[in-house]
């Protein structure tokens, strides 16, 4: 095995393209998972079991089937039903949807962690239910779960290479393409491995610091 710095140099323009796509997928996927997870968590708290039951079944299904299967399903089956999305859009939606079934559990724990006394005080002050949620319960619940949500973002980062399977050229996709064209595997794969560590390790340190500050 020979390390060839010139191969690294040749790969770098492709690397930056791939990094940009990885980060875009990560940011959009995170936003979708944060928003949708909160929607699931709130729907699971409605009094009507006609809402809770279907939401429970769907989210349980999504959580317990592999992301890769979901990616293929959305990418190859949806067009047969007349809904054609770009590979990137499909990937972002799949990651966001998949991770929303995890973030919903994080939110649930956060909501249940708000002491009953907070609900009682809100009742005693006659606050409307929606106001109780937006002004009292969610600010406290979300503050507590920021570190846990952050940890899922790091997991999501490490799942972005799966997008390669539906032709999205994120970091791994770029590395593979470069390798196959140039027959140099070591350099591009090492570069993206280092890139993953350079992003995820500081991020996990940040989450630990946040945990010390926010979760008391």
């Amino acid at each position: 095995m020979n390390w060839d710095w010139s191969a690294v140099g040749d790969f770098m323009p492709h690397f930056w393209d791939g990094l940009l796509i990885t980060l875009q997928a990560l940011v959009l996927g995170s936003l979708i998972s944060f928003a949708l997870g909160l929607v699931w968590a709130l729907l699971m708290r409605t009094p009507s079991r006609w809402v809770r039951w279907p939401v429970g079944v769907v989210t349980e299904f999504v959580r317990n089937t592999p992301l890769l299967v979901q990616l293929f399903f959305l990418f190859y089956v949806l067009p047969e039903w007349g809904l054609t999305l770009s590979a990137m859009t499909t990937g972002v939606v799949a990651i966001g949807l998949h991770y929303s079934t995890y973030t919903m559990q994080v939110y649930r724990a956060g909501i249940e962690g708000v002491p009953a006394g907070q609900w009682e005080a809100a009742t005693a002050l006659n606050l409307p239910v929606t106001r109780t949620w937006t002004a009292v319960i969610l600010p406290q619940a979300i503050r507590r779960v920021v570190p846990a949500l952050g940890n899922y973002v790091i997991s999501m980062l490490k799942d972005t290479p799966m997008l390669m399977a539906i032709t999205v050229l994120e970091m791994l996709g770029e590395a593979r393409l470069f390798s196959q064209q140039n027959f140099q595997f070591t350099e591009p794969l090492t570069v993206i491995g280092v890139a993953f560590i350079l992003i995820s390790y500081p991020a996990s340190l940040l989450m630990r610091a946040l945990e010390r500050r926010l979760v008391r």
Binding site: G117, Q118, A121, T123, A124, L125, N126, A135, Q140
Partner: protein, 276 residues
């Protein structure tokens, strides 16, 4: 009291002109039963409180005192019987001449008249002191932010915490938090203030400050108070009437001099002997 009337009594005002202090019945429990599983906490309880009065509920723990406050605050519902506040059913409403469980709208309307201070303060930790007090007046009573803040500052002065407006509850001592909680309840201008063992969670040296504030409020306002406490001296000072509870029923009731000085029942004497 409506949202516009001042909290403090007008000096020299004719008390009979104010509907809040005309001595009419403000709270009425009618054969109220409350069970938790197999345990009957309140057993066909009847009692009433006249408006403007200060009533203290005493008795051994588990005798149902706190449950009465929680029923009044609609934090829990009676299993049987009815509760009226200001002549309105609390957990029921009349529909086509029949008494049915109250809808949210009805409950909110009746609940407007009631405020509560909790043993654990229950301030909102995500809001500064000022916003803890202004939140409900703005969103529930529809006060402007300025009017609500002015009211909050007056109340903070009343409870001696003017310099803490911009702090978070976590930065205050337990006694200070409880005084903020009192101000927060008063900001809604309730007719009835429910006090649920408000000093029980406090360090001993902080109790006096909170009780002094409550004595002040009892003396200077028309608010009806229903109070559960183990502070017998405080109960003696502020109460017009003391109700001794045992096993979900009122064992005896009367003015504090009678209950504390010359109780009728041996059970009451025993209880008072134990808490002193």
């Amino acid at each position: 009291m409506s949202a516009d009337t001042p909290l403090m009594k007008e000096p020299g005002a004719d008390p009979s002109a104010n509907p809040a202090v005309d001595g009419s019945e403000l709270i009425r429990f009618d054969r109220v039963t409350k069970r938790f599983g197999a345990n009957t906490v309140l057993d066909e309880l009847d009692f009433s409180v006249a408006s403007g009065k200060h009533v203290t509920l005493i008795g051994p723990s588990g005798s149902g005192k706190t449950t009465i406050l929680r029923l009044l605050m609609t934090l829990t519902k009676p299993d049987e019987g009815t509760i009226k506040v200001n002549g309105e059913y609390l957990s029921h409403e009349e529909r086509n001449g029949r008494l049915v469980p109250a809808g949210e709208k009805h409950v909110r309307e009746v609940r407007k008249n009631i405020g509560m201070v909790f043993q654990q303060f229950n301030l909102f930790p995500n809001m500064k002191v000022l916003r803890n007090i202004t939140e409900a007046p703005v969103t529930v009573l529809g006060l402007s932010r300025d009017a609500a803040e002015e009211r909050a500052r007056e109340l903070l002065e009343l409870v001696g915490l003017s310099e803490h407006v911009d702090k978070y509850p976590g930065q205050l001592s337990g006694g200070q938090q409880q005084r903020v909680a009192i101000a927060r309840a008063l900001a809604m201008r309730p007719q009835v203030l429910l006090l649920d063992e408000v000093t029980s969670a406090l360090d001993p040296e902080l109790v006096a400050g909170v009780l002094d504030v409550l004595r002040d409020i009892a003396r200077t306002t028309d608010i009806t108070m229903v109070c559960v406490t183990h502070e017998m001296n405080f109960a003696r000072d502020i109460s017009d009437q003391v109700l001794m509870f045992d096993a979900g029923r009122v064992l005896e009731s009367g003015p504090p001099e009678q209950i504390f000085g010359d109780p009728e029942h041996a059970r009451t004497r025993e209880f008072l002997g134990a808490v002193r």
